[in-house]
Symmetry: C2
Subunit: 688 residues, 2 copies
């Protein structure tokens, strides 16, 4: 289908030139919502998953929640500090991928790349699923459409992002600040109410907990520790998305490094306050949350979906159906969509970097006319949609695949940084003080993140994370071989000392099926090219029709020799290819032009009626040596509606069509093709 | 994707030439199973639906079954006789469609065509759904996969039919005769057992019937009659498919008319015996059948699916789990698949006739290389799959859409025949005796079928048949406008006295992006065409890269002028189009050749890596006046694996590749493009 048939300007907004690129860069107060919505929004599911796993062991296990939360907060602090260092050292974007590539080589870089690609997809899937849950907590009657809503959100995000990064930044800043503000207000109100001696009571406070893992009642020490580790691993989902700023430095306004670092610290501080606040309020208000309310919590209404932890806290603090309850739910759902939006910034950027390095198809490298990498966005959309449907938009199901990728890229990135500082220290390009501070911070980061990676893998593998160990190697393999493929092609097409250019022969063939304007136009164009040897060829699919055609040809008095080629199998391309190959054998490796008339239409549905045969013949001819295929278009009237100049807003060029100057002389060779038709109109001007 | 990349010979069997057409014609004993499986197999659901509707009113209503069955048999006899007349008068195939077109004009013909197209789709859907039910009756553990099984059957039928009509005839003859034989044996055994005083007891004999329509208990006369009419309308589903023979006369061996008529009478007689036999045994063995066993029949096990009426009779006559029980179920399922197969003969044939008349896209007219109309088969497959999924393979749901189309085409066809006989009698081309006999039989047919059409519409409309009154008009509208569209195009492209052929000017442009073999080959081919004016054009998407390219170009010493065109919006086609349009404005309506290098690859997945840009540019250029697009292929090594000659079995031509004759001289014009590369290899031979 022709591009210009789609009203895409309407969808995308006006086109932006290269010079607009600077204007699309982000000030800090816009960059914060764009890049920090992911770590901030994970407050909506991180504490929830942490508490859910503990609840599996029985309510008494919730006593361990503050300790585990403290470790998560410590880890978050270390990771933020580590990434400040990465921003400083590698301001070009690409984050962990660039760090790994520069310091550890292609293989490490590809490990990071596969982890990050998966991670971006999971960010979209988990955030959208959680956003949908929060929407459903506010409007339980939507529960029947969970998957449909999640799918619609993904499509909406794709559309918004195809319009470009700045507009999405502005449009998305308000809900993020609304979310931060309302959650902080909720935490503050909760703390004040508790201080005044009020009791906070969540709607699930009095539910009894059904303990799944029976032996936890008389827990062995190993099972006990495993459960705590699993709760910790789940809580770590609050750490996702921190790297987005490091990958997105080029999108910041100057001074880029400083602005990115400040934004990162702001983001880290906010995330810590919210994580601690939400976890604490959840414990104080006795929130009970289960993977499967039908079995996990005894006392669940049975009617309506389970409320998210955020919803239960809002319920406890502000009361059911209160105005603020809805504000919190709206803000949470919105910020989760922004988190998914982070991936729509990061994934296409990373895949364009990968394409530039030859690890991904070149189509991912081209920016669309809104300066965004549209193909990358479509890939992300497709992958997220598949996961959403397969996992039926279940947060708990999706989250199992999530953080292994995150911690893989964290760990490899930090290890790469160690090499960076060591080398800088050795060659003197970095001061000893800076290098040592970097070595300390990134060394701590590498140690902690690799420990967490091990914990996460052990505790999540059997719960679904095994799939990650299939997806990541596949991505690695594909990217590795893409590079190999491009390298082979480059080698194959590179100029060398052996190849002769200087084709010989000049034989032309015009495929003629009927005597009508499009076909005579092709014949006329072929004649005007003054080939040394030329034939019209008719493929005799129907022998009787072929005889008729021969007679018409003769009656017409066209001087070009007509060749009838038998086709007992009713094929068009194969007998022609056979004929051309023989011709070439008899005349050396000559060059052959094949002329094909082709309809050009204005509506997509018209393709149903035309062109299948011409397309098939063209594709097959391209495999024949020495052949080049010339398409001579015949524009049907409907094609006039397609205005190619719509895409170029320069005022001088905005009109279509050139002046009508009927041809008055014939082509140079003087062969009189169709003298009888020469009166007033030139076929190229037939739309007048 | 290139056709030859698919291993389709493996799927389809060897290719058949036009001369094989006669060899594909059917002898009577093969034509019977191919064309009669539809009416014969409807014994599997016709009596079942009849009894089911009566059961709605209560068991006492089953007493009306013999009377209703008798009317159905009478109708069947009349329709068979009517169609014998049609075969005699119109042996060219096309059946009701041809009759309506010849005698009543295009509009009547299109009504018949829309009815028949829907009808063929419904034949596939209903038969496959019923076949699946019978399979599940034998193997209840398959009940969970009802829709999946039905979908698999449709795909299997498509594959079998793509191989061609004769092979499917032979492969399908055995199960039809097995079905006829085993059902006749069942009827015979049942009659003998009854005569010997045995009692036949179906598994549902003792179930109580829950009466849906409460007022039928004290039925008003109108409601009472309506129920009987509805039962009759449902029983009429046994009459479907009779017209298949009339549509398929050309597939019979000579003498075609006689053979088709004999086959039709044989088929009618068999259908009547089986219909009466099955209905009688169902009544004698007290079969109770309900649309929804959970509500309709009190006493249903709850476990396992409801048995079909065929299964219940086989159970009653031969006993549960007996050998013959399984034979009957296998034969019934198989013959129902054959019935669906009938549509795979009829639908593509009809759509090719429609395409020939201009009512359907021309793509439906081309026979594939196995002499079958593949595009028609794919259309049928698609429509049947949609219905199957939407109706979840429910026979009762699907059957509501079924017989309105059948009786529409019956009625219009018979009315057309009346006109045929009357005209033949008037102009003396038909003897008065023959004409009168025709007028009597077809008059009776027209009267009865139009009455049935009214009954069926009234009784089924609210139960789902309303959809038919949307689908048929849409089909009509599409076909009507297809013809109009083709007529407009034909008018637009027809030769006229006003159009001048004799293009002037000879300006060529070669798009150059990098200096590599494919692009130099394109430049070389363009040069060898000796255009009057020629330029290499580089679209400066990246201004720095453009400067580099210009330097490389100069260093190379190529004498062709290089034009750098700015592209601030990173587009390739639009700036080129602007440039060409201006050039044309300055030089009159000249002819422009645009050369595009294009990769040719051997694996489908390689398309991911190449050609997107070339394709987009090509498509947009086709909209520009005076432009023709020349594609210069560069075959990557993988493309060598594509053997175009696989499709042509002639022994002399079966090898690929011509003798390597390195070019020794340069092209005529003598422009030294790339003298430095002239040593040993010609780029056209690069695969050696």
């Amino acid at each position: 289908m022709n591009d210009s048939l789609i009203p895409k300007r309407f969808l995308l907004g006006k086109k932006l030139s290269n010079e607009n690129l600077e204007g699309q860069l982000l000030p800090k107060f816009i960059a914060l919502p764009v890049f920090s919505s992911d770590p901030l929004s994970s407050v909506a599911y991180g504490p929830q998953e942490l508490l859910m796993i503990l609840t599996l062991g029985g309510v008494s296990f919730l006593a361990f929640a503050p300790g585990i939360a403290a470790v998560v907060v410590l880890l978050l602090t270390v990771i933020v500090l580590s990434y400040r260092k990465i921003v400083e050292a590698y301001p070009g974007g690409g984050g962990d991928y660039e760090v790994a590539k520069t310091n550890l080589g292609d293989r490490a870089a590809l490990i990071v790349a596969s982890a990050l690609l998966l991670d971006y997809v999971m960010t979209v899937a988990v955030s959208v699923a959680s956003g949908t849950d929060n929407l459903i907590s506010a409007f339980p009657q939507l529960a029947a459409f969970r998957v449909e809503i999640a799918v619609a959100f993904i499509l909406l995000l794709t559309a918004v992002n195809l319009r470009g990064v700045k507009e999405s930044g502005v449009a998305f800043a308000i809900p993020t600040y609304l979310f931060i503000g309302s959650v902080l207000l909720m935490i503050g109100t909760g703390v004040v109410r508790l201080a005044m001696g009020h009791q906070l009571v969540s709607p699930s406070a009095h539910f009894q907990v059904h303990v799944y893992t029976a032996d936890l009642q008389n827990a062995t020490q190993a099972a006990f520790i495993l459960l705590l580790l699993r709760a910790f691993a789940s809580g770590c989902s609050a750490l996702t998305g921190i790297e987005a700023i490091a990958n997105g430095v080029p999108a910041f306004r100057a001074p880029k490094i400083r602005n990115a670092q400040v934004t990162m610290v702001l983001m880290g501080a906010t995330a810590i306050v919210m994580f601690i606040g939400v976890t604490a309020l959840a414990i104080y208000s006795n929130v009970h949350y289960s993977e499967d309310p039908a079995q996990g919590l005894i006392g669940w209404h049975g009617s309506g979906p389970q409320l998210t932890v955020m919803a239960q806290i809002a319920y406890a603090v502000f009361g059911n159906n209160s105005f603020m309850f809805y504000v919190i739910q709206a803000g949470t759902a919105a910020v989760l969509l922004l988190a998914a939006n982070t991936a729509f910034n990061g994934f296409p950027l990373l895949s364009s970097v990968l394409a530039k390095d030859g690890f991904a198809p070149k189509a991912l490298l081209t920016r669309g006319d809104r300066l965004v990498y549209s193909n990358g966005m479509f890939s992300l959309m497709g992958a997220a949609l598949v996961l959403m449907v397969v996992y039926q938009a279940s947060v708990t199901g999706l989250i199992q695949l999530y953080i292994i990728g995150v911690f893989t890229s964290f760990t490899v990135g930090q290890i790469g940084m160690l090499k960076h500082w060591r080398r800088g220290k050795a060659d003197g390009s970095i001061t000893v003080k800076n290098a040592n501070s970097g070595l300390f911070i990134n060394g701590l980061g590498a140690t902690l993140t690799s420990i967490v990676l091990v914990i996460v893998t052990i505790t999540k593998f059997a719960h679904g994370a095994w799939l990650v160990f299939i997806i990541m190697p596949v991505l690695y393999w594909v990217m590795y071989n893409t590079k190999r493929y491009y390298a082979e092609v480059d080698k194959e097409i590179a100029l060398d000392e052996k190849t002769i250019f200087g084709s010989k022969g000049d034989y032309a063939v015009v495929m003629m099926d009927k005597l009508n304007k499009p076909q005579l136009k092709a014949l006329d164009y072929a004649l005007s090219s003054r080939h040394t040897e030329m034939e019209a060829v008719h493929i005799a699919v129907d022998p009787e029709r072929a005889k008729e055609f021969e007679a018409e040809w003769k009656a017409m008095g066209i001087e070009v020799p007509l060749r009838i080629i038998e086709s007992p199998y009713r094929e068009f391309a194969a007998p022609l290819i056979e004929y051309l190959t023989k011709h070439r054998e008899n005349n050396g490796s000559e060059r052959i032009s094949v002329y094909l008339p082709k309809f050009v239409v204005g509506h997509w549905w018209e393709h149903v009626f035309h062109n299948h045969r011409a397309n098939r013949i063209r594709k097959q001819l391209m495999y024949v040596r020495g052949v080049m295929v010339t398409l001579v278009p015949w524009r049907l009237e409907s094609a006039d509606k397609v205005n190619l100049f719509e895409r170029r807003p320069l005022p001088g060029d905005a009109r279509r069509g050139d002046t009508v100057r009927p041809a008055t002389r014939r082509h140079a060779r003087g062969r009189n093709v169709v003298s009888r038709f020469q009166t007033t109109r030139n076929p190229d001007e037939h739309e007048e």
